[in-house]
Amino acid sequence: MKAELSPRRQVFLYGLLCVLLIPFVFPTWWMVTSSVKPISDIFAFPPQLVPARYDWTTYSKVFELQPFVKQYWNSAYIAALVTIGTMVVSSMAGYAFARIRFPFANTIFMVVLLGLLIPSEVTIVPLFQMFLKAGMVNTHWPLILVPIFGAPSVFATFVMRQFFIALPVELEEAARVDGLGRFKIFRKIALPLARPALASVAIFTFLHSWNLYLEPIVFLSSADKFTLPQALTQYTDAYGGPMWNIQLAAATLTALPVLIVFIIAQKQFVEGLAHTGLKG
């Protein structure tokens, strides 16, 4: 498989890769360029791959029509809290399931794994009723608490457990002999060594929270509480039709920062995901 390739094969492969790349890259390009085209040009024929004229007013409309800054902040702080919270909860639980012997550990682990099996859509009705009773509908609490403690964090716990199982147990035994208790071993030895696993848990969790759509539209009802995915679909005209250029401008603002962070740190992103207990 890894034999040297002949030049002709190489050209063929590059060509194939470039063709395959179109549906992955072109939409992002089209989103960014269309967002700065005047409304009259966005459906122009033939399609303009590079804008002929620029109209930046769509971007100011994004902020005029909705409290977009507030919505941006909502998404950002919720995702940050969920990411940090999940890292804490899942690393502790993953560590205990991997390393500490306690009664019913396996049974409890199986129960926790049930969370992987149950799509959050299954429990959305009772969760809505529970948060309604608790007076937390139209607040951000459901979007923060459920991912950190509920089903979405189970995957993170699983990843952390797989990582800790692979960590040499002698390191912790040495630390016990060196005078550390359980919690200190976790904090001073296990956690620092778990950085790669924590990084991929953080990436997964952040993207999951950032992308959440069903939960916000179920739980949130006022525009200043909305998160970004929900807000994007709210730029509609009087007939409910999408205001394409404004939606695309808002989508660009939503997607671009994450995309830039990804391109800068792509090595850690991709390799972190590939090497963290996810391998079969």
């Binding site: 390191l171 035994e173 040495a174 016990r176 002999v177 060196d178 005078g179 030895i189 620092p192 060594l193």
Partner: protein, 350 residues
């Protein structure tokens, strides 16, 4: 520094007994080696002393105090692991000082102790490196340094040399031994290698199947093994065993009659095992005949695989033997070094 006492110590996982009631006394400053084949429970026993395994029954005392329910950190022991278990995210200096940090030493004190240990072990130039930048022997030294900085009551070594190559193993063996002579700290050392046990120990404990087979000084075990297991385990190449019967004329094994010391002729007609070490055969015109199967010259000595009657045996001779397989030599067992074991149970008879 302290003495360690195990009384009737047991370990079981569910219904499976791993350690069957072991009694062992280790005096202050003694170097004790636990040796036995893999799965004999020697590492488990060491880890029970360390507090890394729980104790199912009996008592472990360190310095006169029962430590059964104490955490490892409260037992004042230090341990060197088979894979060294150096913290990969800390430098050599931090690794060595780590235990002191958690016992409330000041920064200056810690630095001083680390420097003292590093000087003893020749680690001073490596203090700022990370474990991944060290060779196997250097990692081994750091692991020892981490143990000695604290001046613990007891050192525990769990097969510390098994990951080193043969040459380095001999060097480190000497270093551990001289370190012990210098520090005089009570030491329990686990190994499966009987050469390590023989060369390092003040006292050897031979374990098999979770039971003590024999406890004693290295040469006592070598000279007077209590049973056939210890006889076969200690010594390399290992002792030859021939099954047969004690008769007034000597020891009758299939196809051969071997000489016995006068004193042993009393066990008349008793089924027994005749044990003799390879180095206790002499080439002698008046000896018993042996057919040569294989000759392995080592230079200083010659190892010969031969057929005594119908049993294969090994002999080691100072002389150079230049005969080829198929030839017959005459060998004489050294009467003063013959071991007789019961055919059932393998207990020593003489």
């Amino acid at each position: 520094m302290a003495e360690v006492t195990l009384s009737n110590v047991r370990k079981s996982y569910g219904a499976v007994d791993i350690i069957h009631g072991i009694d062992l006394g280790i005096t202050d400053g003694e170097f004790v080696v636990l040796v036995g084949p893999s799965g004999c429970g020697k590492s488990t026993l060491l880890r029970m002393v360390a507090g890394l395994e729980t104790i199912t029954g009996g008592d472990v005392k360190i310095g006169g105090r029962v430590v059964n329910d104490l955490d490892p950190k409260d037992r004042d022991i230090a341990m060197v692991f088979q894979n060294y278990a150096l913290y990969p995210h800390m430098t050599v200096a931090t690794n060595m000082g780590f235990s002191l940090e958690h016992r409330g030493g000041s920064k200056a004190e810690i630095a001083e102790r680390v420097k003292w240990a590093a000087d003893i072990l020749g680690l001073a130039p490596l203090l700022d490196r990370y474990p991944r930048q060290l060779s196997g022997g250097q990692r081994q030294r750091v692991a020892m340094g981490r143990a000695i900085v604290r001046d613990p009551k007891v050192f525990l070594f769990d097969e510390p040399l098994s990951n080193l190559d043969a040459k380095l193993r001999v060097v480190m063996r000497g270093e551990i031994k001289s370190l012990h002579q210098r520090l005089k700290t009570t030491t329990i050392y686990v190994t499966h290698d009987q050469v390590e046990a023989m060369t390092m120990a003040d006292k050897i404990v031979v374990l098999n199947g979770g039971r003590v087979e024999q406890i004693g000084a290295p040469l006592d075990l070598y000279d007077r093994p209590a049973n056939q297991f210890v006889a076969g385990f200690i010594g390399s190449p290992s002792m030859n065993f021939l099954n047969g019967t004690i008769t007034p004329e000597g020891f009758s094994a299939p196809g051969i009659l071997l000489p016995l010391p006068e004193a042993e002729h009393g066990h008349k007609d008793r089924k027994a095992v005749y044990g003799i070490r390879p180095e206790h055969f002499f080439l002698d015109e008046n000896g018993v005949p042996a057919e040569i199967i294989l000759v392995e010259p080592m230079g200083s000595e010659t190892q010969v695989t031969m057929k005594l009657g119908e049993t294969l045996a090994t002999g080691v001779f100072r002389e150079r033997v230049s005969l080829s397989p198929g030839a017959t030599i005459r060998v004489r067992p050294d009467l003063g070094n013959i071991h007789l074991f019961a055919a059932d149970g393998g207990q020593r008879l003489n």
